[in-house]
């Protein structure tokens, strides 16, 4: 049986890797998640036969508890996962990720408590004496990482879900975090060397607090980077606890996610022109640079939906630049309808997606896909930037910072250096916007006052409807 279990774990690990690999292309992506899901089912089922579970006195009770816990946890996640709106996807991923981190930490807690009991009963002199040095170190490391990912992810979820808006906690937060981190390492060493129950409890409590303290000061715009980082950290924690339990599937899957997640975090931070360290140790736009770059001269010129519609209907090519504002206004379905009308009239329509459009890279693609936009009409920034000069009308809806020319031209702007979409290079730009305010970063946008730009003020969905009417009437 042991051999069957091990082979099943190996099979699961292979299915995970092949599944993730297939998720790297839109054509095979869906098959990918099915394969990975099959791997998970196989791994879970064979674990019921594992010696650790069947081979002891409380087997009956514990197996029952396992089934109840899977039913409750899985049922809750199934229910929430089926219901969550596509716009709320980032925080839901944060939530599920936090649960994984918490689970890894809890595994470590069980191991440490068992070792602690052995020390207390005199069967070992310390926790590392009972577990072995390597297992003890990785159990404790996994506990730290998993716990921080757990409490941090919950804060990330609360912030993205609009339940927590404060960025400030205590004065000198960074210094306090540093001190806490040092104390936490001290406690970790204490747990390793000694093994008192109080030390273990203090260790976990402090790690929980640190996760909260690290995440609270991070601004909303940087949240995707944090979520991605916690995702990678959870993977790492799972890999470490896999070593503790001697479980190959956990080691492989956890480590794959750990490294893939680290790279993904780096890619996201790069797309946003932020370093990962920067995200943690400074608020966005709080420096003097933000104030200095805030001046934009010129006036915003308005246009009516009727005229905008005519302009697009007679265009050769229209590029739509959607932002999170479009999703908030639930305008994506209307925009797709408009796109279909324009296509019927012989206008070539493309969608240009900035890497950080939406709340995390790729989020906008999901929202467009939900509205029915085929993915071969959607272009990444690198692929479409050269195409803007050949474009009659660029329709910017609910996006702001990602089309701000200051990122290319103005070294004083906090956005400077961030890769942006060259919307200003197209012949005409129409910007659909609720009002005259600034974007997520609070930075003024010189595109809005450019000579070839017309502003179309109003709620995204309502304006899109008016555009559809205007095009239909032609």
């Amino acid at each position: 049986m042991e051999l069957i279990i091990q082979i099943s774990y190996l099979l699961a690990a292979v299915l995970f890797i092949l599944g993730l690999k297939q998720m790297s292309s839109p054509v095979t992506a869906r098959r990918g998640i099915h394969w990975a899901g099959a791997g998970m089912v196989v791994a879970t089922l064979v674990t019921f036969a594992a010696e650790e579970i069947t081979g002891n006195e409380q087997a009956a009770t514990n197996v029952m508890l396992i089934i109840i816990a899977i039913g409750l946890g899985g049922g809750y996640a199934w229910y929430t996962g089926k219901r969550v709106a596509m716009t709320d996807m980032p925080q839901m991923i944060a939530m599920y990720n936090g649960m994984g981190g918490g689970a890894a930490a809890a595994i470590a807690a069980v191991e440490l408590l068992k070792a602690q009991a052995a020390v207390q009963a005199g069967r070992a002199s310390s926790i590392h004496d009972y577990l072995g040095a390597d297992v003890a170190v990785l159990a404790i490391l996994g506990a730290i990482i998993g716990t921080i990912a757990f409490s941090g992810s919950i804060i990330a979820w609360a912030k993205l879900d609009g339940r927590l808006n404060s960025n400030k906690l205590l004065p000198q937060q960074q210094l306090i975090n540093l001190v806490l981190a040092v104390v936490l390492i001290g406690l970790a060493i204490g747990v390793y060397l000694a093994g008192s129950l109080n030390l273990i409890i203090a260790f976990f409590v402090l790690a929980l607090v640190l996760g909260v303290f690290i995440t609270v000061p991070v601004g909303g715009a940087d949240m995707p980077v944090i979520i991605s980082l916690f995702n990678a950290l959870t993977g790492l924690a799972v890999g470490f606890e896999g070593y503790v339990l001697g479980n190959a599937a956990m080691i492989i899957a956890g480590t794959v996610v750990g490294s893939a997640g680290t790279l993904l975090t780096h890619l996201m931070a790069k797309a946003m022109n932020r370093s990962v360290a920067n995200v943690f140790f400074s608020g966005f736009g709080t420096g003097p640079a933000a104030a200095a770059a805030a001046d934009v001269d010129g006036t915003q010129k308005e246009i009516q939906a009727q005229d905008a519609g005519i302009m697009m209907a007679y265009a050769n090519q229209v590029i739509v630049v959607p932002g999170y504002g479009m999703a908030v206004a639930q305008a994506q379905h209307k925009i797709w309808e408009l796109t279909q009308l324009l296509t019927e009239k012989g206008v070539k329509v493309k969608f240009a997606i900035h890497p950080v459009a939406g709340r995390m890279p790729g989020h906008m693609n999901v929202l467009l896909a939900e509205a029915g936009v085929p993915y071969d009409m959607i272009y990444d920034m690198e692929d479409i930037n050269a195409d803007f000069p050949n474009t009659t009308v660029t329709l910017v809806i609910g996006a702001n910072d990602v089309v701000n020319p200051a990122a290319k031209k103005d070294p004083a702007s906090p956005l400077y250096g961030m890769p942006t979409l060259n919307a200003e290079a197209s012949q005409n730009v129409i910007v659909i916007k609720r009002g005259r305010g600034t974007g997520f970063s609070g930075v003024e946008n010189s595109l809005f006052v450019a000579d070839n730009t017309r502003m179309l003020f109003g709620d995204g969905q309502k304006v899109a409807n008016e555009l559809i009417q205007a095009v239909k009437e032609l």
């Binding site: 508890l65 994984g100 918490g102 379905h333």
Partner: protein, 106 residues
């Protein structure tokens, strides 16, 4: 059990594998992929089941129970949301299986 150097090999190779998988992914799939990798570390469920299985005292059982509860949430939730996202991707020429459901939206 997997120990010492053998484990180090596995860690390293798995690390490279993860790196390779991500480096070829178009931005359009980043969110589903983050969600997908989030699902994959739901394998922690297997460890949580073992942790509850080896629990001896009540406090260990409680923590083990919480571990399985959270891990099952990670695995099931991660799968459901990833599947929902990927279900929607389709091309102009060949509508995918997600197209039927999209009709209801309009």
């Amino acid at each position: 059990m997997i120990e010492g150097l053998a484990a180090l090999y596995i860690f390293l190779l798995a690390g490279f594998t993860g790196f390779e998988i991500i480096s070829r992914v178009p931005v359009i799939l980043h969110t589903p992929l983050m969600s997908g990798s989030n699902f994959v570390h739901g394998i922690v469920l297997v460890g949580a089941m073992i942790a509850l299985g080896i629990a001896e005292t009540t406090s260990q059982q409680v923590i083990g129970f919480v571990a399985v509860l959270l891990a099952a949430g990670n695995a099931v939730g991660g799968y459901v949301v990833t599947e929902r996202m990927l279900e929607m991707f389709k091309t102009t020429g060949k509508p995918g299986s997600g197209s039927d459901k999209q009709g209801a939206h309009k």
